[in-house]
């Protein structure tokens, strides 16, 4: 629909006052995505506040409460496009206590932009943002050294920050080519979409150019095909009297007509008879397709089951180890029982052991008896039934889950399976 523009999803992270909202506002402005009435609202608001410049942060700070506090407090989604690319930005706040929000924003993103205030350099918050980018295995990280205008566009300042950050990269699972450093001034528009004349010492791409040339190869694209069944389609009409289709999204790899498959958890084998997308029958469903599959034999398949190629069975375990991020006020304790939602399947889970809380500043771990909101920790679970999964490193979809509290029905944790 978007004339073959590719879709790039970005999570932005920075501390309070790093100018994240200003940067996003600037990207919107520079790509012509701010409409006249929005621009007028920004001009009006900027004037009211007595600024002699346009406060682009007003373009994204959504809620009244936030405008009053002048900070963003939740994940906001912002959209813009260039001729070549559609972008979705998940704007997440940078407070210490909001690890939850960045994990949430990063879970649907391929790229992270981490903002650093050139005057402050690499601070504890930077560690945390990078830690989460690493935990979620994003494809690329852009380190935007912002407010270069306030340090006289000094290359030395930039190089110091860059080498401090590179020390951090050493401790992570990222390779050097997944990390890109760009010195910018979001306020003045230097190196955002316009190459900065003030920083002629910088030879790389502008931020926007860099984002456009990225080809985020999501981890799932290179792994094996997984087809969790969402819904069983039985039209019960004259024309489709015996039609029994299994609707779902293909993750990880491609599925083809004729593939020998196994249905989990029953381990029944069959063959893909046909693949449908609306009125068309297709030979092959590539990763990311939301299709409907029929099988050769009359196999009993229901929601929550998973169809995989028989030669590529996932792991099946009743006990799992996962890295957990606590996203709710209710702490996670040993012995707690939750509904574990794994994609579209649900089982009961009991917290067996909290092995450790992991420090998000790369400084190691400590023994704890509970995980609180925004804590990240290593936890073992016992399950009521086996789940069929891949390690998160191999497949983001079958390697992740959420925990749902049985009382409040809130989503309390997200887990990444070892």
């Amino acid at each position: 629909m978007t004339e073959n523009r590719k879709l790039i999803k970005i999570a932005t992270a920075g501390s309070v006052d790093d100018g994240k909202s200003t940067l996003i506002g600037r990207l919107l402005y520079d790509t012509g995505s701010l409409t006249t009435d929005k621009l007028e609202a920004i001009e009006r608001n900027s004037k009211q506040k007595g600024y002699d410049y346009l406060d682009f942060s007003l373009a994204t700070d959504g809620l009244v409460a936030e405008r009053e506090q002048g900070i963003t407090i939740d994940v906001a989604h912002i959209y813009f496009n260039t001729d070549k690319t559609n972008f979705i930005v998940a704007d997440t706040p940078g407070h210490v206590e909001y690890t939850r929000n960045m994990v949430t924003g990063a879970s649907t993103s391929q790229v992270a932009i981490i903002l650093i205030d050139a005057r402050k350099g690499v601070i504890e918050q930077t560690y945390r943002h990078f830690f989460i980018s690493n935990l979620l295995r994003l494809s690329h990280v852009v380190v935007a050294v912002n407010k270069m205008d306030l340090v006289d566009y000094d290359e030395e300042v930039y190089l110091k920050i860059r080498s401090d950050f590179e020390a951090l990269v050493e401790k992570s699972d990222f390779s050097a080519d997944q990390i890109t450093f760009i010195p910018i001034s979001a306020l003045k528009g230097e190196n955002v979409s316009q190459k900065s004349e003030m920083m002629s010492w910088y030879v790389g791409n502008t931020l926007l150019d860099h984002l456009e040339v990225l080809e985020p190869s999501d981890l799932q694209e290179s792994s094996t095909a997984r087809f969790p069944v969402q819904f069983v389609i039985r039209p019960k009409t004259e024309a489709y009297h015996d039609f029994r289709g299994f609707a779902g999204k293909v993750y990880g790899g491609n599925l083809k007509k004729g593939d020998l498959i196994t249905v989990l958890p029953s381990f029944t084998e069959s063959k893909i008879k046909s693949i449908h997308f609306f009125e068309n029958e297709i030979e092959e469903a590539i990763a990311g397709s939301a299709v409907t599959i029929t099988l050769e034999n009359e196999v009993n398949v229901s929601r929550g089951d998973m169809i995989v190629r028989s030669s590529e069975l996932p792991k099946s375990e009743k006990s799992i180890i996962a890295t957990i991020c606590q996203v709710n006020n209710k702490p996670l304790r040993v012995g707690d029982k939750y509904t574990l939602q794994h994609g579209v399947n649900s089982v009961l889970a009991k917290v067996d052991q909290i092995q450790a809380k992991i420090h998000t500043d790369f400084s190691g771990e400590e023994a704890v008896d509970q995980l609180r909101l925004n804590d990240i920790g290593k936890v073992t679970f016992k399950l009521s039934k086996p789940i069929h999964f891949d390690p998160y490193l191999q497949n983001k979809s079958t390697g992740s889950f959420i925990l749902i509290d049985e009382g409040s029905f809130d989503t309390v944790s997200v887990g990444f399976i070892d």
Binding site: M1, T2, E3, L7, T35, T36, D37, A41, D61, G62, L63, V64, I73, D74, V75, A76, I78, Y79, N81, N86, I88, S107, T108, E215, S217, Q230, F231, I233, P235, K236, T237, A239, Y240, F243, A247, K249, N254, H276, F278, E279, N280, I282, E283, E284, A285, I286, G288, S289, A290, R303, V327, V344, K396, S397, S400, F401, I404, F409, D410, T411
Partner: protein
């Protein structure tokens, strides 16, 4: 094939697919469409009584197409609900009835006029009078009447600042209220639709679409839309820099002169809160091109948002769709 997403491999795609593409006419998924279909299937699977809120506008028409795709060859497993303000454009109502007929859908209509007659809401008066906010009461009553637990809507995050933080599954309490500080985080594409008795969920399958995405989709899919989206001659008058429909439902001063102009609508809400734009675009291609070039955002033509900067957020807190 008629679907625009089916085409021979183009060379911009990753190389490893090229061999496969030569072997078969491969379907290249549109990521936003796939996401919406995934969401609609989750609604059908997780809720007992979902309903699709249908306004006759392009976004809800797009939802109908996505729902067709999600469940094909079965029929759409939930009804449509139209909250009729009584001030709709007749073209929209005619279109609605035709669509329902053609696709064999179940349609439920509830009228704001009934809520007024029952004394539950009071008609607004004066220059900016509109029934738009009155819809909330009629909607909440309908939810209670039919015990709907999920209401699927065509709202998009790019429409308005307060919408940017809306969840795909947005839990509302017994009073239909939205608590923006207490929303469930949505991780990856896992949707948690668990709710208590009395709560219901508003579902927004095209959250991540932009106005241009919707228009390009309508064009590529050749989806029929009401005629008022295309340039036509209409009796209008000008107020506050906007073009208003001249009609008995819309308040007008004697000083506000009625003229005939070529106009089209960018959104199709209630007549009293939907301004037209001057336009000559009378084909989908021309409309899409105009949207692409456009510099006035879509909600800029919605008079209800002009009331105050925080208008939308305030309405949402009290249960507005």
């Amino acid at each position: 094939m008629r679907d625009d997403n089916f085409r021979e491999m183009d060379l911009n795609k990753p190389k490893r697919n090229i061999k496969l593409a030569i072997m078969s006419n491969q379907y290249i998924p549109n990521p936003k469409e796939a996401e919406s279909i995934h969401i609609l299937r989750e609604v059908a699977a997780q809720f007992e009584k979902p309903v699709l809120l249908f306004s006759g506008g392009k976004d809800s028409i797009t939802l109908v197409r996505l729902a067709q795709k999600a469940f094909y060859p079965a029929r759409i497993p939930f009804p449509l609900l139209h909250i009729d303000t009584g001030h709709n454009f007749p073209e929209t109502i005619a279109f609605r009835d035709q669509l329902v007929e053609e696709l064999g859908l179940e349609l439920i209509v509830r009228n704001v006029q009934d809520s007024i007659d029952q004394g539950k809401v009071t008609e607004e008066r004066g220059r900016y009078a509109s029934r738009n906010t009155l819809q909330t009461t009629t909607l909440l009553d309908a939810i209670e009447e039919f015990k709907f637990d999920a209401c699927i809507g065509g709202a998009r995050r790019d429409e308005e600042k307060a919408r940017a933080k809306e969840r795909v599954f947005s839990v509302r309490d017994d009073f239909g209220q939205w608590d923006e500080k207490n929303q469930r985080p949505e991780l990856f594409d896992m949707l948690n639709g668990r709710i208590h008795q009395g709560q219901n969920v508003r579902v927004f399958p095209i959250s991540n679409w932009t106005e241009l995405d919707v228009w390009e989709y309508i064009k590529n899919e050749q989806i029929k839309i009401p005629s008022i989206y295309f340039a036509h001659k209409r009796e209008v008058f000008f107020r506050d820099g906007m073009v208003w429909t001249a009609n008995q439902h819309v308040y007008r001063d004697h000083s506000e002169e009625v003229v005939e102009r070529m106009v089209r609508f960018r959104t199709v809400g209630d007549m009293t809160c939907t301004a037209a734009v001057l336009s000559e675009a009378d084909t989908l291609e021309a409309v899409v091109e105009e949207i692409r070039q456009s510099t006035i955002s879509e909600r800029g033509a919605r008079i209800d948002d002009k009331r105050s900067e925080a208008a939308m957020e305030k309405r949402k807190k009290v249960g507005y769709f």
